[in-house]
Symmetry: C2
Subunit: 341 residues, 2 copies
């Protein structure tokens, strides 16, 4: 069933039926009711391909996910972010086009996407400190929103987690519990978020007159192996930490394994707080770590990013929007006071 047939069945013109269906005010209410009823009865839905061509809008938003060594896609934060964003897209009538690109293919992917007009805008995730995607998208004149930010965060729209505050708060929390040797297992220094998180950590220490201990800080790709190996080394070394701050839940899993092997009980002998609680299977109910961000805050960030991007698409000439996103500190049973020295 298409518009033409529906109109014919109603003895109305396509125009009127289209207007009735799309809520234009100039249609008589009685007519509109008839049309709506008939459309429903016939299970009519406007053909999206035709509509897209006619309106010139794709009603689609692209998420272009780079499959780098960091295995973005597998990072579970993506799932929750997608869920949040998808919720808003669905509500606003947008489709979500997911495209995964390997390594440096993202330029080609964006050019393609821009040239054939398959999306109205794109979401950019996990930006590097200097990220070529920003300039490219500006050049292509494709509306985009960045989750996170680059080193120079001016001139484009982004939403970023308030990383400094999150890690400052988490560090403060551990300091309040009496911990003094707090390890920071962070992501690669090349990322803006890692630098900010370190700053939050250092600021909290400095506020109490403490110096960060170099042997208690490590940076690398956020894998379980990294968490395990560096936690193990720190625990076996001199001046072992009594608490860990992890930049990712994945790192925390590794920390937990290292602790387990040494008979260290989380929340009693050792405390762990990690960022990115995206995995419900690390739930606090049964003794998971504490989190500087919760699943729901990641989802909420996804929602907000989607809203901002849609705004941008609807009004591409608005000035850049830049938002900091606050996360909650959730404390689980794996975080406790510092054991007496």
């Amino acid at each position: 069933m298409n518009l033409k047939e529906l109109a014919a069945a109603l003895n109305l013109s396509q125009t009127t039926v289209s207007r009735a269906l799309n809520g234009y005010p100039e249609v008589r209410e009685e007519t509109r009711a008839r049309v709506l009823a008939a459309a429903k009865a016939a299970n009519y839905a406007p053909n999206s391909r035709a509509r897209r061509l006619a309106t010139g809008r794709a009603m689609t938003i692209g998420h272009v996910i780079p499959l780098t060594g960091r295995a973005e896609m597998v990072n579970p934060i993506f799932a929750d972010f997608l869920i949040g964003a998808g919720e808003v897209y669905a509500r606003e009538g947008y489709d979500l086009l997911l495209s995964m690109v390997t390594d440096g293919d993202s330029e080609a992917a964006f050019r393609q996407i821009a040239a054939n007009g398959s999306v109205d805008g794109v979401m950019v995730q996990a930006p590097q400190i200097t990220d070529p995607r920003i300039g490219l998208l500006q050049e292509l004149d494709l509306p985009f929103l960045v989750h996170g930010r680059t080193g120079d965060a001016r001139g484009y729209s982004w939403l970023d987690i308030a990383n400094i505050r999150a890690f400052r708060r988490a560090t403060d929390f551990l300091l309040d519990l009496g911990h003094r040797r707090i390890a920071l297992l962070n992501g690669q220094e090349g990322f803006d978020f890692a630098q900010r998180r370190r700053r939050g950590y250092e600021e909290a220490l400095a506020a109490r007159g403490l110096c960060p201990l170099p042997h208690l800080m490590a940076n690398d790709a956020m894998t379980e192996g990294f968490g395990y190996l560096s936690a193990a080394a720190m625990l076996d070394g001199p001046e072992p930490p009594t608490a860990f701050l992890a930049s990712s839940v994945i790192i925390a899993i590794g920390i937990r394994r290292a602790c387990g092997e040494r008979g260290l009980r989380m929340g009693r002998d050792i405390s762990v707080i990690c960022h990115d609680d995206e995995l419900s299977y690390l739930n606090n109910d049964v003794g998971g770590p504490a989190f500087t961000a919760t699943r729901s805050s990641i989802r909420a960030a996804g929602r907000r990013c989607a809203e901002l991007l849609i705004d941008l698409i609807r009004d591409p000439d608005q000035p850049p929007v830049q938002e900091l996103w606050e996360t909650d500190l959730t404390v689980g049973r794996s975080t406790g006071p510092c054991p007496a020295a």
Copy 2:
């Protein structure tokens, strides 16, 4: 730049340019070369919206992911499956439309998708034993491929992991190592895959004249908490297991925590094999569990599913295709011989 302009610039008709670009044979090679060069120079790409309308094909495949309590989307197997499928879609010129639906909204979502023709086919994942989606998609006449299968697996196309064989092989492996009390922490019995995995496990035991021990079998939603709590109970109970088979890597994480708390060293005091190695952070290099499936096999399954679905879209009248997908057993340092009793 659109086709009309490109044609004008070349002093050719739209028809010829279109044909040249789309590889039709009747174009003179010299003309084709000219067209191709001009298109490249002008950075021309056919407008996908127009093309879709004209051809009647959406060149898009839908992945409709239910956000049930099982939190499908967060289950990391989805990421790898998507990556594999996305690879094939990209190669074949298809877009991937991701739509997440809450609970029972999937019927509405499918009807919508079918009525407005935004996709050419859909991928169905994690089917229930009896799954209403199958009948619905048949009724809507929308090509679809199921990853997994329902209780009655006739009459539609699917690709399923060879669950029975995978778990039989894993159980055999542990038996060969001398283990006799092997626990099975499985998914909810309501799923076909859980039943098959149990069958593989039981068959392997039976082949050696062993009976499955009820107190070493548990079923539930595959969370870390489930793994942790049931492993803890089993380890603390009478006749504790010397090895675990887990239906998901997430469960294995829970098992590992329970073992760690009890000072049990994986690979020495206790062995673990789990299905679904989707998380690189559980890598074997540093002592992760063994796996009945590897990341690459999940990805490969995604690729194969995509290929089958595209075949189905291109020739919707072909008889149902049904494939079993073999996985590899990968053994890590967490699996070792049974400690002497």
